[in-house]
């Protein structure tokens, strides 16, 4: 079902984790649909993404697209990161099954959401960046067992 690259990124996800006091954090997706991605960016004064981490709740494709997206933005400046589309993420993974294309969209949205957070915190305007749709979950309490 998945390409070797997808399986590789699923089995060995790059950049999993959190960044304390991150420059920007973006969380997208919806637990109801079974996918949530959170991306942390560490951006320096030259607007270069020095470090990036992610956490994902979701299927194999969701994990692999988040992992690949973090690889693609690492070391790029903010404008370059803006250019990374879901298509680029998919191509870098040698493709996704049609039912999983939404996972790559989520990865793109997660990057944008983290960049938006960074821009807001720093009073910067990033060209072409729009406020992320927030269908998240902040006050949703999971039931405990």
């Amino acid at each position: 079902m998945y390409t070797e690259k997808v399986m590789d990124h699923f089995q060995h996800p790059r950049n999993v984790g959190e960044i304390e006091n991150a420059s920007g954090v973006g969380t997208v997706g919806n637990a109801k649909c079974g996918d949530i991605m959170r991306i942390y960016l560490d951006i320096d004064e030259n607007q270069i993404i020095r470090d990036v981490k992610f956490k994902t709740f979701g299927c194999g494709a969701a994990v692999a697209t988040s992992s690949m997206a973090t690889e693609l933005v690492k070391g790029k400046n903010v404008q370059e990161a803006m250019q990374i589309t879901n298509k680029a993420v998919m191509e870098a993974l040698d493709g996704l099954p049609p039912v999983k294309v939404h996972c790559s969209l989520l990865a793109e949205e997660a990057i944008h959401a983290a960049l938006w957070d960074y821009a807001e915190k720093n009073g910067i305007k990033i060209e072409g960046l729009e406020k992320p749709k927030s269908d998240i979950h902040e006050d949703e309490e999971e039931e405990e067992y």
Binding site: C33, F57, V99, E144
Partner: protein, 398 residues
């Protein structure tokens, strides 16, 4: 890959070697059409009858009440659609439950489009249908009640005898989808007042593509597949002789070993359940703890997603299944898990493990060891778990 641990026996089972051996001559030697006149072929007619007798014996039925079909799905379609047509003059109302297999639910939706009304009964948090709710749903125009014997995802065994009695007392026909239960647990069609029962060969170490529908004598049911005079003119088409022989053999073997298997599988099942519950935090057993198929274990693991879990288990050589959306082919998780009241995100994190004749305690111990590691690994990368831990910390500092 190394060892394969197959724990998806509710999806399908390995065809047992005795079954394959019994079937083979019916491809190569006794290939005649049972409807032919010459002795070479006509002997196959008797072979079919003797398989019917084996199956009827297990259910406490008569052999002319067993009709061979291409499997459980066809049996369900036939039972519902042909009964609905035959009894349309009496009424157009059918009662079923929300946790039926899609072979029932999608057939009911089809009938709704044909002008029938269907009541889908709720189940409780363990997946049980309340017989009182069945009784309350019966109307003067109710023609059929269809409730599954045991659920394929969560293993819950329904109070079939009670529901059957209610149906009987109200003069309503009662069908049960027993695909998961037949030859796994005792079923007697008279004791349970069952008028129709669906079953399938490949769930009990028999071949795929063969099943049957039990139809009590006297039930008006129309032909569903039209053509020749096979199956008392009710189900046309040249009989799948090798399949029927394989099914008969599988039923014979399953019935002979049923008590011993039930005892063995229940013990293994409870071992697996107790190890998971004591060693993996934030999990929930889905389905009834007691009224449960001996081979079914279904858990939800909070903060993780089912498909990821399955792929990681697969990498360890373990075959299992999940009710997550990613494995159901839609965006919604399993309708069964939602019907027992699980929130979406917890339904997405479900895992079904179904034991079989080859399953050993050692296999299950290996599964728990892998599962502990995998769940911990997935939680480590889950934003839901991160949020949960933060909330716990906040609570503790308050």
């Amino acid at each position: 890959m190394g060892k394969l641990i197959y724990l998806d026996n509710a999806a399908t089972t390995k065809t047992s070697p005795e079954v394959v051996e019994a079937m083979l001559p019916y491809f190569t030697e006794h290939y005649g059409n049972p409807s032919s006149v010459y002795g070479f072929a006509a002997a196959n007619k008797e072979v079919i009858t003797s398989q019917r007798e084996i199956i009827a014996g297990v259910l406490g039925a008569k052999d002319n009440e067993i009709y061979f079909t291409a499997g459980g799905t066809e049996s369900d379609n036939w039972a519902l659609i042909a009964t609905a047509e035959a009894y349309a003059a009496k009424g157009k109302h059918i009662i079923t439950s929300k946790i039926e297999h899609h072979a029932i639910l999608h057939t009911c939706e089809y009938l709704q489009r044909q002008g029938y009304e269907v009541t889908y009964l709720d189940v409780d948090e363990n997946g049980l249908v309340d017989p009182k709710a069945v009784e309350a749903a019966i109307r003067p125009d109710t023609i059929l009640i269809s409730v599954m014997f045991a659920n394929n995802e969560i293993g819950t065994i329904q109070p079939i005898a009670e529901i059957g009695k209610i149906a009987h007392d109200h003069g309503v026909l009662f069908h049960t989808d027993a695909v998961q239960a037949f030859a796994q647990i005792p079923i007697n069609v008279d004791e349970c007042n069952i008028d129709m029962l669906s079953a399938s060969g490949h769930k009990l170490n028999g071949p795929k593509g063969i099943g049957f529908l039990y139809i009590r004598k006297g039930v008006k049911i129309r032909s569903f597949i039209h053509g020749g005079a096979q199956e008392r003119r009710r189900r046309a088409g040249t009989e799948n002789v090798p399949g029927i022989v394989g099914l008969g053999k599988a039923v014979e073997l399953a019935a002979a070993s049923m008590r011993e298997r039930m005892e063995r599988e229940s013990r293994l099942r409870d071992h697996l359940i107790s190890r998971i519950e004591s060693e993996i935090p934030y999990c929930r057993l889905n389905g009834d703890r007691v009224k449960r198929l001996p081979n079914n274990v279904n858990f939800s693991f909070q903060f993780v997603e089912g498909e990821s879990l399955l792929i990681m288990l697969d990498m360890k050589g373990i075959c299992a299944s999940s009710g997550s959306a990613c494995t159901s082919g839609s965006l919604d998780p399993s309708h069964v898990l939602l019907a027992i009241g699980l929130p979406h995100e917890i339904a997405h994190g479900s895992l079904r493990v179904t034991l079989g004749a080859d399953t050993t305690e050692e296999d299950l111990d290996y599964v728990v060891d892998c599962l502990k590691e995998i769940v911990a690994q997935l939680r480590k990368m889950s934003p839901l778990y991160e949020d949960f831990v933060r909330r716990q910390e906040k609570k503790n500092t308050k």
